[in-house]
């Protein structure tokens, strides 16, 4: 099963070097284990834009943006045997944050990819 992990946090600051290193090692291990397919960090919304439809009108919002509480910091895509393994993976990833960036708070959400139905 394919899962997407989305990491959100109210903190604006990026990961500490120690956390970066630990995450790098985890990524390396998971690529070599054939499980991690893709991953990436995301820049703040100010570097992008929102294209919306509201009241039948399409508009491009290029900022300034209202402060959102949760900022999406990054994502990863994994191929795993199922939800149990996916949760175990997320716990290991978040434990690194706990260990290497004390005080950080955030959420790692994992979602199974939709599979086409007949």
């Amino acid at each position: 099963m394919r899962f997407m992990y989305i990491v959100t946090s109210p903190h604006m600051i990026g990961p500490t070097p120690a956390l970066m290193e630990a995450m790098g090692k985890l990524s390396d291990r998971e690529i070599k284990a054939g499980r991690m397919i893709d991953s990436g960090g995301l820049m703040p919304l100010a570097t992008g834009a929102q294209v919306r439809i509201r009241d039948g009108q399409l508009s491009v919002v290029d900022g300034p943006f209202v402060e959102t509480k949760e900022i999406i910091g990054g994502y990863a895509i994994f191929e795993l045997s199922g939800k149990d393994e996916a949760v175990a993976m997320a716990k290991e990833f978040m434990q690194l944050h706990k260990d290497y960036m004390p005080g950080w708070e955030g959420t790692c959400e994992l979602r199974a990819f939709a599979t086409p139905a007949h």
Partner: protein
């Protein structure tokens, strides 16, 4: 958490941690089968303790501590040990004390050890059955029960295969060796064969059967990704990964709701997994970039890529497929490849050209009982309006077909050809 939940959670952690545990122990013990056995002890310990204590904060470190302790115990217990081994044990002891929380477990570069593990599990000295069982056990961390379910065999059969295979390895002094350079490339084909066997075992499984059978496809894909990550310069590893990704991308389109198979050209292409196709194409590009365009797996992947890249069945580049089959036949001469080429040529140049290739295969001993030879001939004859000959070919195909579905399909086509003749 129920006992069943806890059990599943433990097995999930196990699957993640198992490769690192076994490679780490193999390095300590210089014996892969023994390392596998002792890591199993760590799993048993977890299954015993975690349901009561909960999964520890760092399950990987916990398992590693137990596993390494077992390894040290083993080294100590073994009275036959020479002094240098005792020193190793002592050294391990000190190491353990020096890093109590095992954060450094992440530091281990498992690449080399993983390569050794894979080549040991897939050793050509072992039978194919033994290799597949050992690979799923040692590389993928599947339990004996899971492997047995996946292959629809009794657990005792698989357990015995694994025990025997490990004994063969130990008795032959093959418990800890890694081929390098030239030998690695040669031995790699044995490894790829095992991976592809596992994939096909899952791929040919019908829908609705035990989920573990299709799961074999995912395990094979994962093994191929491991190989491409740790042996990135081997083009055929990328070729096989491409072939499997591209084949697996059609999983949702291959059968209808009732489980009846749908032929490739009749499949709903919107159900093909584009993300997986992209990955397959990327793997094929890497194989080609490494000079492996003409490899056994890369060529087959290239053929599937022609289908995967066609938006509709009509857009299929049959001329290219026919040329690729000709190349494949040169790499691995086989009447089945030639029959496939007949189909592609039939599509590219017309049924006449295809039929002349297929006709040359009649009388080929290897295809004597292969129902697709008369099946293909029937199809080409039907397109040429030679309905009576087509009917006879489809009848012959029906008589040879091994399963009910194929038999019925061939009978239907024979009837249709007969009806056309009456018109």
């Amino acid at each position: 958490m129920t006992a069943a939940d806890a059990h599943r959670a433990i097995l999930a952690v196990w699957r993640i941690e198992q490769p690192r545990l076994i490679t780490s122990l193999a390095r300590m013990l210089r014996d892969v089968p023994l390392a596998e056995e002792l890591t199993q002890d760590a799993l048993l310990a977890a299954l015993e303790q975690w349901p009561a204590t909960g999964v520890p904060e760092k399950p990987g470190a916990w398992l590693m501590t137990i596993a390494r302790r077992r390894a040290v115990d083993h080294l100590r217990r073994n009275r036959m040990l020479e002094r240098k081994h005792e020193l190793v044990a002592l050294d391990m002891d000190q190491q353990q004390q020096a890093m109590p929380d095992f954060d450094s477990a992440l530091d281990d570069d498992i690449g080399d050890e993983m390569l050794r593990l894979i080549f040991t599990a897939c050793h050509p000295r072992l039978s194919r059955e033994a290799r597949t069982a050992l690979a799923l056990r040692m590389i993928c961390g599947l339990t004996t029960e899971e492997i047995a379910r996946a292959f629809l065999l009794p657990e005792a059969t698989i357990a015995q295969r694994i025990v025997r295979a490990k004994r063969t390895l130990s008795d032959s002094g093959l418990a800890y060796e890694t081929p390098r350079g030239e030998e690695l490339s040669q031995r790699l084909s044995t490894v790829l064969e095992v991976v592809y066997l596992i994939f096909n075992e899952g791929y040919t499984a019908a829908r609705g059967e035990d989920w573990l059978r299709p799961e074999l496809c995912n395990e094979a894909l994962r093994m191929a990704r491991v190989l491409t990550a740790i042996a990135p310069h081997e083009p055929e590893a990328h070729g096989l990964l491409a072939l499997m990704e591209l084949n697996a991308s059609r999983a949702a389109a291959r059968t209808d709701a009732a489980g009846e198979p749908i032929l490739l050209l009749d499949q709903n292409r919107t159900l093909w997994d584009q993300f997986q196709i992209l990955r397959g194409m990327q793997a094929l590009d890497r194989a080609r970039g490494l000079g492996g365009a003409g490899g056994f797996y890369a060529l087959q992947a290239a053929i599937i890529a022609c289908h995967a890249g066609a938006r509709t069945a009509e857009d299929t580049d049959w001329a290219r497929i026919a040329a690729l089959y000709a190349e494949l036949a040169a790499v691995m001469p086989s009447p089945i490849v030639e029959l496939n080429r007949a189909v592609a040529v039939g599509m590219a140049e017309g049924p006449d050209a295809g039929l002349s290739i297929a006709d040359r295969l009649v009388g080929e001993p290897a295809l004597k009982t292969y129902h697709l030879l008369p099946g293909v001939r029937g199809d080409l004859l039907e397109k040429l309006g030679r309905h009576e000959e087509a009917r006879a070919a489809f009848e012959a195909a029906a008589a040879l077909a091994g399963n009910r579905r194929d038999q019925e399909l061939m009978k239907r086509r024979a009837d249709a050809a007969a009806a056309m003749k009456m018109k």
